[in-house]
């Protein structure tokens, strides 16, 4: 059994120093070693997108990355979205627009949306659909997720216009 490898990383602004097996998946590391169970495993082969997190600001599928690859990286997971218990505009929009039912794909949807809206702050409905086709949802049929992201985009554009 290979020696555990030390890794240092920042998750949701908090620094961690841990050791883990080289073959441990990043998603398992987050869930088990850091007790951040908000990121979910839906397929373990990089297709469903439920495991999506932000890795140095970019959306990635954490079930097809090894934890050791995150050494030195800054990660953001669903647990890092709210501030002092207050919803991020994306979370608020999902709540107001019924963008989730069982909640299992929701972490993936939120993280993909976050990355996407930074790249494209004024998306069309088609563009939103294309972006979230990266995450499978079985409950909602996607309509309300698209509406949620469109509403969040409006909100986020307005507030960044205000704050400049």
């Amino acid at each position: 059994m290979p020696e555990p490898i030390p890794i240092r990383l920042t998750v949701n602004g908090e620094r961690f120093e841990k050791r883990c097996e080289p073959r441990k998946l990043l998603v398992d590391f987050l869930r088990e070693d850091l007790s951040l169970t908000g990121t979910h495993v839906g397929c373990e082969h990089g297709v469903c997108g439920a495991c999506t997190i932000l890795f140095n600001g970019e959306a990635v599928r954490s079930c097809i990355m090894l934890a050791v690859q995150a050494d030195g990286a800054e990660l953001c997971t669903i647990e890092g979205l709210a501030r002092n218990g207050e919803f991020h505009p994306l979370q608020q929009a999902f709540h107001e627009n019924h963008g989730l039912q069982c909640g299992f794909c929701t972490p993936g949807m939120l993280m993909v949306a976050l990355d996407f809206l930074r790249l494209n702050p004024s998306p069309t409905e088609q563009e939103i659909r294309e972006a979230i086709s990266a995450v499978l949802c079985r409950c909602t049929g996607y309509r309300d997720i698209v509406r949620s992201i469109a509403a969040a985009a409006d909100k986020m554009r307005m507030s960044s216009a205000v704050t400049g």
Binding site: E44, E58, R61, D115, S133
Partner: protein, 247 residues
């Protein structure tokens, strides 16, 4: 493959920490892309958009943004999945890769690189370090036509076309496939028809029919060989029609 326990390597070497393997620069009419350049970086690169628009179009077909955040141009080419878009682009643009190993460096042309299903001519101890693609001429017409069951899926069949013309003549035609055969290949017989007969409707139809005849398509539960052969004709025709109307 590791998650399915199909492969259980004793050791893995992480290339992600080598900073000078990721770059995009132009030198003497050639775009040089470091092998570890992320597909996402290629997607948003102004150099690629301007100088290699075929690549810019093709990269958007690759899976989804989160995959492109991590997938690399060198990785995709070395892995040589039959349905991957980047080997097809390398073929269509007659690019080459720089392979480095203990014995030194060598250049491998696209035509000599892809050997078969998931197989390249790289030696076991060689690594792709750079991908080189000649700047596409400003007047080149191009198109990628892909048929997949869903947006972002591996292609069931795809054709990339690049054409250059002088008046009525087609001075250069390059056609390459993905998804049709075990490895991405050039449709040279079809190219010759266009370079001989131009880019009119009947030349395009003849080239497309030839393309369909010359391939040895894969057969699996997704699609039969006959259907892939059929798609080769349809997509070749569509790619050429679009490519010729670019300018």
């Amino acid at each position: 493959m590791m998650n399915f326990r199909i492969v259980s390597p004793a050791a893995i070497i992480d290339l992600n920490r080598i900073p000078d393997l990721a770059y995009i620069r132009t030198e003497s009419g050639v775009v040089r892309i470091g092998a570890m350049t992320r597909q996402r970086t290629v997607e948003f690169s102004p150099i690629v958009a301007e100088q290699l628009p075929l690549l810019a179009e093709a990269v958007k077909h690759i899976a989804h943004l989160p995959i492109r955040s991590r997938g690399t141009i060198g990785g995709s080419i070395a892995h040589a999945d039959p349905a991957a878009e980047l080997p097809m682009v390398l073929q269509a643009l007659e690019g080459e890769v720089v392979a480095r190993g203990p014995a030194g460096e060598r250049l491998i042309k696209a035509a000599d690189l892809f050997k078969g299903l998931l197989a390249t001519s790289l030696a076991d101890d060689e690594l792709i370090v750079e991908v080189r693609l000649a700047l596409m001429p400003g007047r080149a017409g191009f198109a990628v036509e892909e048929f997949a069951r869903r947006r972002g899926d591996f292609a069931i069949a795809a054709v990339a076309a690049v054409v250059e013309r002088a008046g009525e003549r087609c001075t250069k035609a390059r056609l390459a496939t993905a998804g049709v055969e075990p490895a991405s290949a050039r449709l040279t017989a079809a190219e010759e028809i266009l370079e001989r007969n131009g880019l009119g409707d009947s030349a395009i139809e003849e080239a497309a029919a030839t393309a369909a005849q010359m391939v040895s398509p894969l057969c699996d539960h997704q699609a039969s060989a006959e259907y892939r052969r059929h798609l080769t004709r349809v997509l070749t025709e569509r790619a050429l029609r679009r490519a010729r109307s670019v300018h």
